[in-house]
Amino acid sequence: MTAMKVEKKGIRWDVWKIISISVLVLYGLFLLYPLIKLLLQAVFVDGQFTLEYFNQFLSRNYYLETIVNSFSVSICATLVTLVIGIPLAYFYQMYEIKGKTLLQIIIILCSMSAPFIGAYSWILLLGRNGLITAGLRDLFGIRLPSIYGFNGILLVLSLQLFPLVFLYVSGALKNIDNSLLEAAENMGCSGVKRFFKVVIPLCMPTILAATLLVFMRAFADFGTPLLIGEGYKTFPVIIYNAYFSEAGTNHSFGAAVSVIAIVITAIIFLGQRFINSKFQFTMNALHPIERKKLHGWKNIAVNLYCWIVVMISFAPQIYVMYTSFQKTSGKLFMPGYSLDSYRKAFENMGRAIPNTFLIGGAALIIVIILAVLIAYLVVRRNNFLNKIIDTLSMIPYIIPGSVVGIALVIAFNKQPLVLAGTAIIMIIALVIRRIPYTIRSSVAVLQQIPMSVEEAAISLGASKLSAFFKITVPMMANGILSGAILSWITIITELSTAIILYNLNTITLTLAIYVNVSRGSYGIAAAYATILTCTTIISLLLFMKVSKSKEITF
């Protein structure tokens, strides 16, 4: 009935079609346009087509080496996270672990600190004059291997990213029906053998997804190698340097490197999809696995493994919090305690805190509204336009954060639309970065709600839009809200895009930490980091309260 009223020129215009087109326009303007500009910038100089910048990159060993470095450190880090994370998830879901709720909160906190905080605090602990290095050297004369370079990046990335594997694989394990494990045991396959022959194959699609995610994060991360890599240069560092070392408005080399980065990540993404297509099957658990209580040495070993791994990765954050209360003098921490670091933090970059909430909050609201609308279009209005939207929404998955930043600067630093240096561009960047994840979780929520509920509302006289807002959205609310809190945490810890777009007026907490670490104001950085961690913890507790569950999945 509603559609009839607005029928014009033979095309059926309904509200959802208008929304589809609006969303497409937004994607075109803020995603496709910047990416096209980026590509043009890379191949056109003064109106002339040239591959010079690609040539410049590909012909120099110095640059190519960074790709090799990036691959080797990312592959190693991915393998280590799998080796740590899968057993951890398995133990966590199969057995009773002491303090398992606290354990999970800490695991999530580990994954949610900004990456370079890990790097920075490991330097404080294991660096040349680090707490542990110095302690071992002075007390026992033991010299630890250097943490700078490959080892350090590997350590930091592994400890930072294994929680993702843990969360993904935990989710998959929850989907395994207990009877599958019992059936295996029944047929003579138990213990370690069952883990490798049944559990791992059943989790394979999830393990592959986690592998991709971890690899992409490791590959795109540049805070860590910048701080702890020293001579060991990785690809994202080159992107960042190329962008900032280029004088004036000519970002061509940075653009060319960005294009290469997108090509590499796209290949990896497609490769993972291809492998994944070999492991397609559906599963649902009527009787999820029940945690068993272990006894004797097995119980001790499993508990020790879980807690030691988790505490090692959480140690840096605790140490950073501790140093935030130490007295400082210039770059050095002094004996004694004070709140000076906090006082200075508020004096120097007082804007950072309100900015974090304003920019992050605005981005969050836009992400939620757009994601819910897009999820609805994709799930309920499956037509050609919306298929395009679905595909477009996947693009930000494969684009490294710093490349998003560079593309946005290139597109919006000149007329007709100047946004560079404003809070708006920061918000746009955060929305682009976060929206694929939120769409995916909204789609999952929406698929659980039968269409018939909405149809009932329409048949009772509600318009399409009011049926959506009065019936569907409230039913989705719980899922949306819990997804939103997780988005919030990722938004406030985002670094790689924001670092390219920020200025003093739009600086946020995460950026403030980074700036202070690079200036050597470790005390102030620690104070900001503590504030950020507390914000994250409060958000997490809120999440648990809202979603009424002790289990967190992404």
Binding site: S179, E182, A184, N186, F281, L286
Partner: protein, 373 residues
Amino acid sequence: MSVNIKIVDAVKKYGDNTIISDLSLDVKEGEFFTLLGPSGCGKTTLLRMIAGFNSIEGGDFYFNDTRINDMDPAKRNIGMVFQNYAIFPNMTVEKNVAFGLKNRKLPKEEIEKQTDKFLKLMQIDEYRDRMPDRLSGGQQQRVALARALAITPDVLLMDEPLSNLDAKLRVEMRTVIKQIQNTVGITTIYVTHDQEEAMAVSDRIAVMKDGDIQHIGTPKALYQRPTNLFVATFIGRTNVINGELKIKDDNAHLVLPGGYEVLMDTIKKEEMHDQKVVASIRPEELIVSEHNTDGIKATIDDSIFLGLNTHYFVHFEDGEKAEIIQESKIDSIIPKGTKIYLGIKTEKINVFSEDGSRNLVTGVVNDNDVYTK
């Protein structure tokens, strides 16, 4: 290679909560034995104790002479069919069936031969390369059964295997299960809450309630001579009618509502005394008569014509309701409101003590009595 199963004084506790106490049971070699009972009666718990997935808090479980209490589930040589089939979703039909064989490290040809045999036996040969999500419920059921049997287990355990199927398939699959069990000749313990299914497949049935076995017997014994009122009402449909037993001249008379009296010559000797009783009269044990005035007076409330039989719903003069099943007749169905008289097939009905705990009629065969006395 089948075994007999002996359970002596089994105890199952969850914390302080005792689910099963002192339960004993013998399952003969090659027998199809069913644990039947309402949900929560402990039947699945008992099955999982046999399988090794539930801990055993007391008692002894034997396969032949081997005590299996502390044996690893993987070593018990049990084939198990789960309620949701538990088919590995990431393996083809063939790989599912071969899974248990591969774990035994059998030679390759042996595995292939055995897998083939059971794929053919269960008639799923043509789906061997399919993934499970492309199978119907009935086909998945066949895969689960083939997989359980392929390892030539000593015992086959089935946990409500048909509960996820639709009614028609359920009837079809229970015939398949019975036939396969006959062919393979394996000792089988089957769990279900569906009494009709239990009757259709079992050699013997154990009716359970609140963790206790009430009655063990053949389907015929359970239906015709249930040991107590619970079994009478749980197995098949029945009308429960309060009455009195009166002894006159050494003969037992059952006095029913409205004063109708019938002579009962099936009452046990030791029960021959005046007492209040509960009669269990199955719908087919009542005889409708419109003209003869000898019987319980009743009025027809409603009728259902089901082809072979016609069901009548009636109420007695005291307001109690009852159901009657009659073979459909060619003349018209008795209209609502008609006053009728109900005769009784006295040799068939059961009479219980007032509390329903004892059957007063001779001929009860309860294999469980061995353990309780």
